[in-house]
Structure formats: structure tokens, C-alpha cells
Symmetry: C2
Subunit: 235 residues, 2 copies
């Protein structure tokens, strides 16, 4: 199977980068600067939890098309009310919203991607917008061959147009493209629309317990990008 | 000025890669395999010369939207008639059409881009399609941060949507984005729509003499990407 795959497309938030620790740190820094203390971890979880419902509102047409920077800001403004932090400056709010452009990679991400890049086209297939993904790649040194985003298709994963559009832009049949993700719903959609799949559990993405069980239905299950590289090259 | 520029977007065919020598070599190889001899250079020039008229037909709506692979094939099929080479196999035709995915960089391109990447976001802004640009980057080792293409906007340069769309996807004001190109018509359009401009003459792009005069109206005029890097960092 592995010999027919030419391109690996990666989910990003949670799969390649550790949003929770990164956002915790950014809010803590802002708290230090502005003299407030809150439960950083709860704030990060709340921000992330607002993400899917916000995309669903776009999907249902309740919100016009808006990129993730826009959706993150919408959710942030609500959280600042909840946490009684609306007094922080507009500059600080903008900086905090861009924390998602500065997320840190998991320990294996850069080394794993660098190895995978030797044998495959590696790219993003993320709901994050292009500028977010480009800035993140610069700061986290992620060596993408190409940056593909839901923004290019005007719809968010799990819309089939994102998976099919990714393969189409790469000029490849869908079964020569593999989605690599830490989230089973994303992989299940990719599989449904004809892409190959690799599951990489990220047990520390959320503070609560998450489903990290390997599943036979995926083409690959690996504990890290390095493990995925070994499995791809040895099988 | 240079401190306000955050991203450099590059025209590709002729500016980053030497299409003429590369296509010459590919046709010569194919001639060797199939036992024919033609004027390689004339064939390459004819193929390239068909490119703008073909894009113009798309622009005028005479052809439906078609990516550059499609337009290259359309022109190639006409040339194969002209040069009496229609008998070569479909596999050979497909391989030849993809020669544009395998173009070789100019001598300064990889080193220059690698240096520029340390200080700026570097990306393509090409009429070539995404898969062509991704495959070319892999084979020529072009270290792009992102690959932007007319294909993403459904219209070709010099349509204003390509220049403005490039800046928008990067989340940057237009005057923080600079087009780097060997072609004055491209630069003039970029300037008209608010981008900064850098002219890099490529005197060997065409076999005939081309206009390589520096122009004050451009923000930068440089003899290579390395020269551009020096000018940007020293000014």
C-alpha cells in the first residue's frame, strides 16, 4: 500500500502542534503583563471548545465565511467577557489572538516531518488559514512542501471538498494521498471520501482523557511521526 | 522601505527556473528515445510562445478555466502536429508535458532563496498550477514557505485578483508584499495593484535579446537573488 502513497497531508492543531501548552503559556504571559491570574488551562480549553461550534455556524450559513483568525477572535471576545478581561488593550487582544500562529510543535514533529519529506510530499490540510499556517511553519520550523487550508476551498473540514480538493490541487488520485491526524472524526471523513489514513494519537492534547486506541480500519497507526516513517519505509 | 516588506512572492517560469534549457534537454532526450531530431530550441520557444495566447483565451472566456498543465498539453498537441510528431506514445506525451514540473533553477536560485527565507516569507506567485509548483520545488530543491498560484484564484496574472489575493492569503497589507520577477509586465501590474517590486533580469531566458534595463520605478533592481538579499539587508 505504502508505495502508492505520494503525499501526506497533515491535520495541524493537536496533530503537529501542541495548542494547549502553547496557549496556556501565552495567556500566562499576558496575565503577568496585565496583572491578572486565571485558570490558564481552563481558558485554553474554553477557547478551543468554541472552535467547532463556530465552524458549524459558518457551515450552517449563520455566519458568513470567516477564516480561523476571525473565528478565534469571535470566541476570544466572548471569553474575555466571561473572564472579566475586556479591559486589556486592543493590541494585547490582537497579539493573543495570533497566539495560534505561534503554537509549538510536538517533540517528534520537526524531525519526523523532515524524514517524511525525503520520501513524500508533505503538506498541511488544516482548517487554519494560510497566513496562520505560514507563520506557524516559520516559527516552529515545520518543513512543509505546501500549505493547503480549508480557506482555499471556502469550507471547513469535514466537508468533502476539503479532502477531495487537497488531492486535486496536488494532481493526485485520492488513494495516493494520506491524511495524518490525531482525531478519528477527521480520519473517518478522509477515509469516507477516498483518502488513505494514518492515526497518530496525541494523548496530551487535551487535559482530559481522549480516545487513543489504535484502529484496524486506518491504514497506519503510529505513536509518532518517526514511528510512521519507520512503518512506511519498512512495510 | 525594506523593513516594511514581510513577504517576497516570486514569479517562477524564467525568474526562478530556466525553462528554455530544461525543455530543450527534455525534447532532445525524447528525440533520442524516439529517433527524431528537430530544432529543440525552436520547439521550446514555440511551446512557451503559446502560453500567453492560451491564457488570454481563458481570460476572454473562449476556453473554460484550465490549469497550466491543461494549457501546456493543448499547445503541445498543436506543436506535435506542426513538427510531425503525433506518432509518439501517449505516455511520452504525458511525460513531456510534465517537463514543466521538472525545470531546473538558475544558478543563484536555491542559495538566494535559502538566504532570503531567513528574513522573509518566501513564496511563489505563479500562473503554474499547485501540483506543478510542488513537484518543481521537490525536484529543484526550492525552499518555499508557501506555494501560491493563479489556480487558487481561478484567474491568471496579470489579473488584479492574483496580486491582491496573494497578499490577502498571507494576511498582509499589499505594500508589505514584494513581487520578484524577471518580466516588466508582471512587475508593472503588481505595482499598479499596490505591491512592492523587485526586478531580476534573466538575460538567458529567451534565445533572442530581451529588455534587461534596470528601472527606477521598481523598488529594487538586482542581478540575482543573492544581490537582492544583499540590497535588502544593507539598505
Amino acid at each position: 500500500m505504502q508505495n502508492t502513497v505520494s503525499a501526506l497531508l497533515f491535520d495541524v492543531f493537536g496533530t503537529v502542534v501542541d495548542w494547549r501548552s502553547s496557549i496556556n503559556r501565552e495567556i500566562e504571559l499576558l496575565g503577568g503583563k496585565n496583572g491578572f491570574t486565571i485558570d490558564w488551562n481552563q481558558f485554553s480549553n474554553d477557547w478551543r471548545a468554541g472552535y467547532k461550534p463556530a465552524m458549524d455556524r459558518v457551515r450552517r450559513g449563520e455566519l458568513p465565511w470567516m477564516n480561523i483568525d476571525g473565528l478565534h477572535r469571535l470566541i476570544l471576545d466572548q471569553l474575555l467577557v466571561k473572564y472579566k478581561l475586556t479591559h486589556i488593550s486592543e493590541g494585547d487582544k490582537k497579539h493573543l489572538n495570533k497566539a495560534w500562529h505561534r503554537l509549538a510543535p510536538w517533540d517528534d514533529s520537526v524531525e519526523g516531518l523532515t524524514k517524511l519529506k525525503q520520501k513524500y510530499i508533505i503538506g498541511t490540510l488544516s482548517n487554519g488559514n494560510i497566513s496562520l499556517l505560514v507563520n506557524m511553519a516559520k516559527s516552529a520550523k515545520l518543513p512543509w512542501d505546501c500549505i493547503l487550508s480549508a480557506e482555499l476551498f471556502g469550507c471547513y473540514k469535514p466537508d468533502r471538498r476539503t479532502y477531495e480538493g487537497g488531492a486535486e490541487l496536488l494532481g493526485l488520485p485520492k488513494d495516493r494521498v494520506m491524511l495524518v491526524a490525531a482525531h478519528k472524526d477527521d480520519l473517518d471523513s478522509a477515509m469516507k471520501y477516498g483518502l488513505k489514513t494514518a492515526f497518530i494519537p496525541r494523548p496530551h492534547e487535551y487535559s482530559e482523557k481522549t480516545d487513543i486506541t489504535f484502529e484496524k480500519k486506518y491504514d497506519f497507526n503510529a505513536n509518532s511521526f518517526l514511528d510512521l516513517f519507520d512503518q512506511l519505509t519498512n512495510s
